[in-house]
């Protein structure tokens, strides 16, 4: 055992450090097309104090540290590009507090989406948090660290990073800080009215520090659910249909999807509208409001609502929605690129056309879609390309498609989301120089030795 391993074992216990080739192999890659790179150490801390000690050690010995939650980001953001430590946060999965009156939960960073959801269902059945459609092993911190979004993003105020009420973070420099109300009083209820420092860790892909605790907003969990699906062949009317639905302010979640599979849906755009209510009367009223909002469209019979007998609603009523996870392995071999771009809603038709053009160019299959964020304030548009990891040609095609997609997203006026290093570079090239310079200044302040997830958000 080398000195570093010994020291790490002293901090977290020897069962929670690994330098074995098998383990490092697993942590060297994700499901996307990014090149694998081996870490030197895999470490699983149990608490914030241990995280702090690891960061001190890493600073002393200039060892890169890559925080990792579920490792489901798919764009290589947890691949240790410069080796070093992969800091797997999954042991830190305690749910520390649920405040029923002020509607927030405080969790350790490695708490998974599934765990929090199950915990709330069991102990606080009247409350829920916004769930991404990622597999339930995705973590709360990993998701906010990349500005994730989920089933309450439309109705309850935007990206999950906007639902953060407070953070505890170990900075790249090793200091531990609390941000939000919890920095001043015991409650984790709000980031306001203080200067908002949480943003220094949201969207930074773990390059400024390790989030150890998260305060996250909770919302009422109404008893009744339903779903409406609107179908059209005309890409260009999609934004107006979406706006009309958004304007009703009665939908919980609004998603748009276009996929060539199954055959009978090829070329048809589906707008999936999820509704919740406390009573059946309320639910029926909401359905009527939405249908009335689209009357001008469906009366022409050019588009319309799909009849959905209750038995066929199945998965559509669930959060997280499983359709994309099922689609992820359509090519078998477990490869999945899920490129997102945050963009204005009116760009959806162009993004679709671009997605289809790119996939035609490389002869790959796709699932395109968008989730409305806020009351139509933006959309998280996804370009999902499944591939077979055992097929090098397939990987190559998807890699090219990914590059083209990032460039196309920027050209359309959107910004690639949770993008891999090459995509980050594209963004930084296009960014106002003063902005990127400020980013770098902040980064060097918080992470003076550049140990945090090196390679990401770097201007060279």
């Amino acid at each position: 055992m080398d000195k570093i391993t010994e020291r790490l074992a002293e901090i977290v216990g020897k069962d929670y450090v690994s330098t074995s080739a098998e383990e490092r192999f697993i942590y060297s890659r994700d499901q996307g097309v990014q090149q694998p790179h081996m870490p030197d150490y895999v470490v699983l801390p149990d608490n914030a104090r241990q995280v702090q000690e690891i960061i001190h050690l890493a600073n002393n010995d200039s060892i890169p540290v890559v925080p990792m939650g579920g490792g489901l980001v798919l764009s290589g953001l947890t691949i240790p590009l410069a080796g070093g430590i992969v800091l797997d946060m999954k042991r830190m999965n305690r749910i520390l507090e649920v405040n029923e009156s002020s509607h927030y939960a405080v969790v350790e960073a490695g708490t998974s989406q599934g765990m929090l959801d199950a915990y709330l269902k069991k102990h606080h059945p009247r409350l829920k948090h916004s769930l991404p459609d990622a597999p339930p092993a995705a973590t709360i911190a990993g998701n906010i660290a990349i500005h994730g979004s989920g089933h309450l993003s439309q109705s309850e105020g935007g990206f999950h990073s906007e639902m953060v009420t407070g953070l505890e973070v170990v900075l790249g420099s090793g200091e531990m800080v609390k941000l939000g109300s919890c920095s001043t009083v015991p409650g984790w209820f709000s980031r306001a009215p203080l200067p908002d420092l949480a943003g220094l860790f949201l969207g930074w892909n773990g390059t400024t520090g390790v989030i150890t605790k998260v305060g996250i907003k909770l919302f009422p969990r109404p008893r009744f659910h339903d779903v409406l699906i609107y179908m059209t062949e005309d890409i260009d009317i999609a934004p107006d249909i979406l706006f009309r639905i958004i304007e009703t302010e009665v939908a919980e979640d609004i998603n748009y999807a276009l996929s060539p599979k199954p055959d009978y849906l090829n070329g048809f755009q589906m707008i999936v509208i999820n509704l919740v209510a406390n009573t059946e009367i309320e639910l029926n009223m909401k359905k009527k409001i939405i249908r009335d909002a689209l009357y001008d469209y469906y009366k022409t019979k050019e588009s319309g609502f799909m009849p959905l007998p209750p038995a066929m609603k199945g998965d559509f009523l669930e959060a997280p929605q499983k359709a994309l996870s099922k689609f992820a392995d359509v090519k078998k071999g477990g490869g999945f690129e899920y490129v997102g771009a945050i963009m204005p809603v009116e760009k959806i038709p162009d993004a679709c056309r671009e997605g289809v053009r790119i996939t035609d160019r490389y002869g790959i299959t796709y699932s395109l879609g968008a989730r409305i964020i806020g009351r139509g304030h933006s959309a998280m548009f996804f370009f999902a390309y499944p591939f077979n990891r055992a097929d090098t040609q397939d990987i190559e095609k998807v890699s090219h498609a990914l590059e083209d997609t990032n460039a196309a997203a920027l050209k359309l006026g959107g910004i690639p989301w949770k993008t891999e290093v090459s995509g980050q570079k594209l963004i930084l090239e296009q960014m106002e120089p003063q902005t990127s310079s400020l980013m770098m200044k902040i980064k060097s302040l918080l992470d003076p030795n550049g140990i945090m997830n090196p390679g990401n958000w770097e201007v060279k």
Binding site: M231, E233, D263, Y264, L265, K288, K301, M306, P307, P309
Partner: protein
Amino acid sequence: MHELKFDPEICKSCTSCDCIMKCQYIDLESDQAKSEHAKLVAGEDSSILHDCVTCYACEEYCPFGNHPFYLIVERQEQRGVHPAPKPLEESQVIMMGPKGRIKPKELSPPVMNMCFFTVMNGGIRGSLFEGVSKFGGSDVFCNLMFLHFARNSTIRQRLPLMIENIMKNFLEPAGAKELICYHDECYGTYTSWAPAFGIDVPFKPVHLFDFIYNRLVELKENIKPLGIKVAYQRPCSNRLCPQTDHFVDDIFSLIGAERPKREFEYENALCCGGVPEAQQRFELTEEIQHKNVEDMKASGAAYCVFNCPFCFWTLSEPVLKAGLIPIMMSDLCLMALGE
């Protein structure tokens, strides 16, 4: 090719215009009904083309068997009237289309066609269906549902191939002359639609209830009478074969179920609501379902029995909410057999 056997002279001399006057969804005075219908016959635009919920009932109402409903569908298609949204229609055409994926299967009589409802294979079980060989899927699918989408042409085009597939791949190898139709749609296709369009059916279709009734007679000893009131949700396609309705009563009398008196029963049966919903007529859907289920409840029925799986999926929830138990006819019979 395969023209509808419709005689305009019959309509001209018809004084009752039952096809429209008895319709539960189109509300026209007698004179209006006749003039709108005359337009329909003449191939002109008529409110009937737009208001029809495609419940098939007028096929039963017409005392002359002059196929008023098939005529409506012909005219809708000719005039480009789309009862349901076009994308829905187009995707259904692809979804239900033949895929050329027939897997050879050893069958022996009695042979049953599950239609498109192979998901219901599990319901074909127990002593009630012992020895029954079954097949199904999009390559042997009657396609009659396209009546709801103003697409006689799709049925016309696909049905001969379906019949050929059924004969060559299943009935001939099994040495079977009869085909039990799991769904009323298939039975209605072979006994009503195909003859109306001059398409030969080289086998004898057997209605599912006919088969079940005869099986129950054989199993009579094992039946424990249920002693329950059961409302029957008559599917649209049963309008094409009303002569089979007596099997419901016959089966009920064997299993000890009572078919309570209802307002919306027999000729007045109401649609499950699935099709008007597809037509984007949401208020009408709610109204029909409400009336139908309230009527079941008022009749004192404890169960609502179905033959059509689509009706079952559509109406189960409202039926359950009204406190009745939705059940397929085959399961109801299995219950009586203690299985």
